[in-house]
Structures are given as C-alpha cells and as structure tokens.
C-alpha cells in the first residue's frame, strides 16, 4: 500500500513535467520556426502550404506559459494545502479543465495530452470507482475528440507538421521522433496512472472487507459473552437469594428459635407446677411474658437489620442540612434551604444527583458569583422534584464551560430530567428531576 501511495504522486509530477515540456516545445517550435521563416524570406511559400496560421506566435507562447502556471498552481494547492471543502476541490478541477481546453485551442489541437493530465487529477480525486471509470471514459473521449486529424476536417487549423517541414529531412525526423515519443509517453503514463489508481481502489476495498470480517467475529464473541453474563447474573441472583434465605434462617433460628424454645420450656415447667405451686407458676409465667416481649423486641431488631440499605446511609435531608450548616458557619454566605417535600428518601442515584447538583451550584455561587445569599427550594409536582437554586451573586452573561454546568446537565439528563441556567439576575439553576416513587422506602 505504501509503495503505491508514493507511486501515484510521482506519476502525477512526471505527467506535469512532461506536459510543461510539450506545451513549451510546441509553442516554442512555432515561435522559433516563424522567426526562421521570416529570416529566410520564404513566408509566402509557407502560407501556400499552410491550412491556417497562428495568431501572434509570441503571444500564444506567453499565454500558454501563464495557463500552464495556473494549472500548476491549482495542482500544488490541491496537493499541498488539500482543500477541506470538496466543492472547492471540484471547482479547481473544473477550472483546470477549462484552462486545458484553452491551451488545446491555442495550440490548435496540435497537442491535446494536457487533457489527460487534467483527467488524471479528476480521477485521482474521485472517490467512488464507478465515477473513476466514467471519468476515464470521458478522458479518452475528449482526447479522441480533440485529435488534430479529427478537428481539422471541419476547421482550418495550423499544423505543427507544417512548421516541422521547414527543417531539413534529418532534423525533421529528429523533431518528429521526439514529438511522437513524448506524446506517446504522456499517454502511457496516463494509462499507468489509471492502473495504479484502480489497484489502490481494489486494495482499499480488500482492507475494508478484512476489517469488516474481524468486526463481525468480535461482535459474535461479544454476544456470546453477553449471554454468559446474563446466565451469570441469574446465577448470582439465585446465590443472593440463597444467602438471604440462609441469613433469614439463621436470624429466625438465633432470635425467634431461642425465644420460642425458652417460652416453650417455661410453659412446660408451668404446666408441671401449676397445680402444686400456683404462685411459683405465676412468677414463672411473668418471666415467660418478659422473655416473649424481649423476643418481640429481638425480632423487631432483626427485621430492622434485614432492611438492605436504609439505615446504612445518611439521609439526604441530613446531608443537605449538614452542608447548609457547614457553609453558613464557614463562609459569609447565607443559605436558606426550603424543602417542601415530606420525605427525602429516593434511590441512591437520585439522591446523589440532587446532592451533587446542590453542592456544585453552591460552590459556583460562592466561587464565581461571590453571592451573599443562596436560596435552595425543593418542591414536588406530580412525579417530579422541582429544584431551584437562586443566588444574588454577579451572575454571568455567557455560560462558562468551566463552571461545571455541563456536569450538572449530564447528571440530570441521566435521570431523564431537564435543567435550565439563567445568569441574568444572580445565577439560577432550575432543574426538574423525575423520581421513581414506586421504589420509595419508608
């Protein structure tokens, strides 16, 4: 692949060089020969042989050099700067085509290889292979269509042959030989170029196919892993259930079992003594009653311990209160927390999000807004929590990405909520967070 990437530009530079040579040679030959004809006073004889004569050979030479300069410039721009805009690239190629047609007309179709150069560029910059074949066809058609022999049937054209025939036979064969050699060489290089481009295209397709194959294998493996993971999750759930059951069993065994065993043993003793010593039985029953009550306490404690997380976490309200108090104590900023929601027990991610949003907003208000007062309000409307944090700081006209606003937005977006920022009067964070109430713990 790498070798071809060097070859193609090399071929293009070679073609450009060759075309410069041909255009200069044709126009230069006409210019020099015209002067020779003038100097040897055979202009009238020359006219007799000619079908047409060029308009100002000197001017043609000059204009051709300028036009070739334009072609070179647009080529260099394409190669080195590389247009980002594909329309600019297409425009430059269209300009190339127009310029090359201009050159071919100025040369009166005596040399049309410059068209191959332009089409080589067009083909190189065409991305899809069917377009490339179309342009190759167009190149061949335009090359044939601008052939001197064909055009000269209908239009009088000056002929490079007439100018060459000014020279003696030996020189003529040299000039003609070089002319034909270079023309053919240009064509051969164009064909080589086309072949290289096609090969490269083929190579790219192969590469894409290989990558696609690898991708589908990876995809399959991923699916397998996913299925295994699901099985594992089911297994893990079952294991969790078993573990939980074991814990329940242990708990029941440890508390209820122990108490019930005590009660049953005490009652058995009472049954034995109730007739003989009723007083002793009575006191025994009182003991049993105490044990039963203890048992109930024990069960309650046990059940409480079986709740998975509620008691392990700090409550959200407490955390917010603590933050408010800490801030009030440590800074000059006064925070007023107005919570109109009865119980702040949500899922962990929801609580986390609410806490972080408040924390980030307060930090922003103090650090960037230099606010002296911050009002935090939480309300419940339908299933949503409406959270507003308004400060009396400087606010800001433009949302600075450094404020962590993006984090707030992301957090809330994860919960399918929305947030609006407004920096015109102090700074306002207005968030609506949907809450999954159904899983609420009480």
């Amino acid at each position: 692949m790498n070798i071809k990437r060097i070859e193609i530009p090399l071929v293009k530079y070679l073609m450009l060089f060759l075309n410069w040579g041909m255009v200069l040679a044709v126009t230069g030959l006409i210019l020099v020969t015209t002067n020779n004809i003038r100097d040897s006073y055979i202009a009238r004889d020359f006219l007799d042989r000619a079908e047409a004569v060029p308009w100002k050979p000197g001017a043609i030479f000059g204009i051709c050099v300028v036009l070739m300069g334009i072609l070179t410039l647009s080529f260099v721009l394409r190669e080195i700067i590389q247009f980002k805009d594909s329309r600019a690239e297409a425009g430059s190629l269209a300009l190339d085509f127009a310029v090359s047609i201009g050159i071919v007309c100025l040369l009166n179709f005596n040399y049309n290889g410059i068209l191959l150069w332009v089409f080589a560029n067009v083909i190189f910059h065409t991305k899809n292979s069917s377009g490339q074949f179309l342009f190759m066809l167009l190149a061949v058609l335009s090359f044939v269509g601008t052939d001197y022999g064909l055009v000269s049937i209908n239009y009088p054209l000056y002929s490079i042959q007439d100018y060459i025939s000014y020279y003696n036979a030996g020189q003529q064969s040299y000039i003609l030989g070089i002319y034909n050699l270079l023309t053919s060489l240009n064509m051969v290089i164009f064909i080589i170029f086309c072949v290289l481009v096609i090969q490269e295209q083929r190579g790219t397709i192969q590469e894409v196919n290989e990558l696609y194959g690898k991708l589908s294998v990876a995809n399959e493996e991923l699916q397998q892993a996913n299925i295994q993971l699901q099985k594992y999750a089911v297994m893990k759930e079952k294991m969790g259930q078993t573990k939980e059951r074991n814990r329940l069993a242990r708990e029941i065994h440890d508390t209820l079992g122990h108490t019930l065993t005590g009660i049953s043993a005490g009652i058995d003793a009472c049954l034995a003594t109730i007739d003989i010593a009723p007083d002793k039985t009575k006191s025994q029953l009182e003991v049993i009653s105490g044990v039963t009550r203890e048992g109930i306490q024990e069960i309650r404690r046990s059940v409480n311990r079986l709740r998975p997380d509620a008691l392990e976490r700090l409550s959200l309200e407490y955390a917010i209160q603590k933050m408010v108090e800490d801030t009030n104590a440590l800074t000059n900023t006064q925070i007023f927390f107005d919570c109109q929601v009865q119980s702040l027990h949500f899922c962990e991610d929801e609580e986390n999000a609410i806490y972080r949003v408040i924390q980030e907003s307060v930090t922003n208000a103090i650090r960037h807004g230099q606010a002296s007062r911050i009002d935090i309000q939480m309300k419940r409307r339908d299933g949503d929590i409406l959270l507003t944090i308004q400060d009396n700081g400087k606010g800001c006209e433009k949302m600075n990405p450094g404020f962590g606003l993006e984090h707030i937005r992301e957090r809330i977006a994860l919960l399918n909520g929305t947030v609006v920022f407004d920096g015109t009067h102090g700074f306002l964070v207005d968030a609506i967070i949907p809450i999954r109430w159904g899983e609420e713990y009480d």
């Binding site: 015209t34 002067n35 004809i37 003038r38 006073y41 202009a43 009238r44 020359f46 006219l47 007799d48 000619a50 079908e51 047409a52 004569v53 060029p54 308009w55 100002k56 050979p57 000197g58 001017a59 009088p156």
Partner: protein
C-alpha cells in the same frame, strides 16, 4: 468581516487600475491603423505617384476621424509585397487594412485571414453595392462571401497600329467589331513586304486563345476551380479561330521587336498600359514610329466585345482590433468618389465606381495628356467594357491550371491534332488535376 473588507479593497484597486489604463490609452495615444500597401503600379507599368492617392485618402480619413492615425510602410515593391505581407501574417502583425495581389487573394481568404465584409456592407447605410462595377466587386468574393473591395480596375483592350491600317487601306475598326473583321484585316495585312520570301508584316501579336475565349462568351473554369470547361463549344471555336489566325503567319514567329517597329497591326494590352504609353513622358519613348489607338477586343460568334478585367483588392484583417475604423478607411479608399477620381489623375487604372469612371471629369483628365488627334476611349465604352468584363478567376490553383491548359492547347497546335477530341482529352487531364 475581514474577508469582506479584502474583497472590497481588491475590487476598488481593480476598478482604479482599469480606469487609469483606460485614461492612459485615451488621452495619450492615438489609435493607429496599420495599412499594408506596395509602391508602384499593380499593372506593371511605371508609376511615380503611387503614394499620392493613398496619402490624400489618409489625410481625408484622419480629418474626419480625429485621434486615429494611419500608418503604412512605404517603398515595398510589388514583387516583394506578397512576401512582406506573409511575414507580417506569420508573426501576427497583419496590417488592419491591406492591398491584396491577385495571386494572394484566394490563399488569404481560405486561410481565414480576411474579415468577411457582408454584414458591414448590408448594415452600413453609406455603402451602396450598386455603385461598384459588379465585375470588380465580384473579384473580391470567395464562396459567396465578400472578403475584399476593389480599389482600382483595369480592363484589357486591343492596341491598334493606325498607321499600318491606314497604309493598307483600312480605318480603325468600330468598337463593336468581330472576329471576321479581324480575320479579314489580318488576311490582307499579313505578307512579305521586302520580298525576301518570309512574311514580315503581321496581323496580331500576343492575341491568344484565352482572349478569344472570353470574347466568345466562354470561360475555362467554374468559380471554385473544380470544373474545367475547355471542351465547350465557345472554347473550341476560339482555339480554332486562333489556329486560323496563326496559320496566316506561315510558321513565322511574331516578336515584340516586330511590334515595336510597327510591323504588327493588333496587340491586346491593358488599360493601364494604354494610359501609360499614351501620356507623357512614355509616349515619346515607345511606339514613336507610328500612330496608335485602343479599341475593344473583337467579339466572337457567341460572345461580345468583352475582355478580362483585373482589379486591385483591399481587404481587412480578420484579426484586426479596429474593424469598424478599418471599414471606414476601406470605404474612404474604395467608395469615396473624390479619392476614386484621383485614380484617373495619379494612377493608370480606372475607378471601380461607375459614377466616377463614366463621369465627364474622368474623360477630361484622360484627354488632358493626349494629342488632339488621339481618340480618347469613350467613357461609356469604358464603362461597358468593365461592367461586362470577365474577372480573373482567383481560386487557389488557377495559375497552375491555366498553365496546364495552355500547354495542352499549344500541344494541339504544334502536333496539328484534332481540336475537338483533343480538347475533350485535355479536359479530363485538367479536371483530374483540379480534383487533386
């Protein structure tokens, strides 16, 4: 914003540049129109005043077109003019307006170097096609397009040795004379005067079958040079007639010397030669031993007293940037009666405008330089000769084709071949040549 500013700046600079350039060219430089011309006469007669008419035309043109100057190279001889023009053309410096020699017209027109004048002719209200002699105007046409306008025209005439005719008891023939008349005179005149057994007095010199073909209503080629009519009855009659005339000479070759010594009665010559040798100073140098005059060529049985008419053409370069000015100047040269009248004063041909050539003033000018006894060519006659004349064909290979026809016919004369069948064979040969 910056990009917009840049664009405005570039536009302003460009506009200022264009304005400055325009102002520079307008204020400081006259428009220069190049005119290509040769010195001397187109009719191969001596002419000392060749530039006078052009200078007058230029003066008149520059007066009516301020800011325009006409530039020309003086002193290019006619023989070098073709090469000079070709060199100019090859290096892309074709003059805006230029004279065109007969041999060059076809080549220049087919090379696309001449601007077609048809549109300008039909759109210009000052231009009237009908003012020109149609023969002269037609000589500037190729493939139905007018590429050049005639500037000066010259018909062929018949030189008559009056002294010799009077000596033999003949008067000068009328202008509507015919072949029989000529043959009658020639039969009487052609004889051995000094008794050495060799004929030494002749009827005609240089009167060939071509002249006879034209005055017999025939022509040798079609306009485009694709078809040869050498086998036609008119041509055959002419060839036979010339054969008859030359038979009178009993194999003697008539030479220019015989003619100059006054031993020949008739010779075709151009109107330009007539004017040159009739007027001072040339009339005392040539043909001094006898009196002479000019009449029309004799009419053949199917033709009229007409002859070939040669015109000097002027055209406009197709590559000229000043085509309108060039057209105005071309009109000054060819359509301006005042300038055209100068042709009678300072040149040897005739004006291409009917009104000028047939005017009394022109006749007066011709009369001025002649002796009272000389008969000046009647202006109405001149008019008819030019108007009805035959233009020289101007297709590319006319010269070669004519030479081929001449060699075929001289072969017929030399080898005493059957004229009709030989002409048919010759036609095939020439057509074959034309088709190549």
């Amino acid at each position: 914003m910056n990009w917009k500013k840049w664009r405005i700046a570039v536009a302003v600079l460009l506009f200022a540049g264009i304005c400055l350039t325009a102002a520079f060219f307008r204020s400081d430089r006259d428009t220069i129109l190049e005119f290509g011309m040769f010195a001397g006469s187109n009719w191969d007669v001596a002419n000392a005043d060749s530039c006078i008419i052009i200078d007058k035309a230029i003066k008149k043109f520059e007066k009516t077109h301020p800011g325009v100057r006409i530039h020309y190279y003086s002193g290019i001889p006619k023989n070098d003019y073709s090469e000079w023009l070709a060199r100019k053309i090859l290096s892309g410096e074709t003059p805006d307006v230029f004279m065109i020699l007969s041999n060059d017209f076809d080549k220049l027109a087919s090379l696309g170097l001449l601007a077609s004048l048809d549109d300008r002719m039909s759109q210009d209200e000052d231009f009237h096609k009908s003012a020109f002699f149609q023969t002269a105007l037609a000589s500037g046409r190729q493939n139905g397009q007018q590429y050049a306008l005639p500037y000066e025209t010259v018909p062929a005439l018949m030189f008559v040795n009056k002294t010799l005719l009077n000596q033999e008891g003949f008067g000068v023939p009328d202008n509507n004379w015919d072949w029989d008349w000529l043959l009658r005179i020639c039969k009487r005149i052609t004889k051995d005067t000094d008794g050495d057994g060799r004929v030494d007095q002749f009827g005609t010199y240089n009167y060939g079958w071509m002249e006879a073909v034209y005055s017999n209503g025939g022509k040798l080629f079609d306009e485009n040079g694709t078809e040869c009519y050498i086998h036609s009855e008119q041509v055959a009659q002419a060839v036979r007639y010339i054969h008859e005339l030359s038979d009178l000479n009993q194999g003697q070759k008539v030479t220019q010397e015989d003619f100059d010594r006054g031993h020949v009665a008739f010779m075709p010559l151009s109107f330009a030669e007539y004017r040159t040798y009739k007027t001072y100073p040339y009339k005392i140098k040539k043909y001094t031993t006898f009196q002479w005059d000019c009449i029309t060529l004799p009419a053949g049985p199917q033709g009229d007293n007409i002859s070939i008419v040669d015109s000097l053409l002027i055209g406009i370069s197709r590559r000229s940037c000043q085509k309108q000015l060039a057209w105005e100047f071309l009109k000054t040269l060819t359509c301006d009666e005042e300038i055209q009248m100068e042709i009678f004063r300072h040149s040897q041909g005739a004006s291409v405008l009917k009104a000028v050539t047939s005017s009394r003033q022109a006749e007066e000018i011709l009369r001025q330089d002649m002796e009272a006894s000389d008969r000046v060519i009647d202006h109405t006659l001149l008019n008819t000769v030019i108007e009805n004349g035959i233009e020289i064909p101007r297709f590319a290979r006319y010269g070669e084709a004519l030479a081929l026809a001449e060699s075929e016919i001289s072969k017929i004369y030399e080898e005493e071949k059957n004229i009709d069948s030989s002409l048919k064979i010759a036609r095939q040969t020439i057509n074959h040549f034309l088709a190549q």
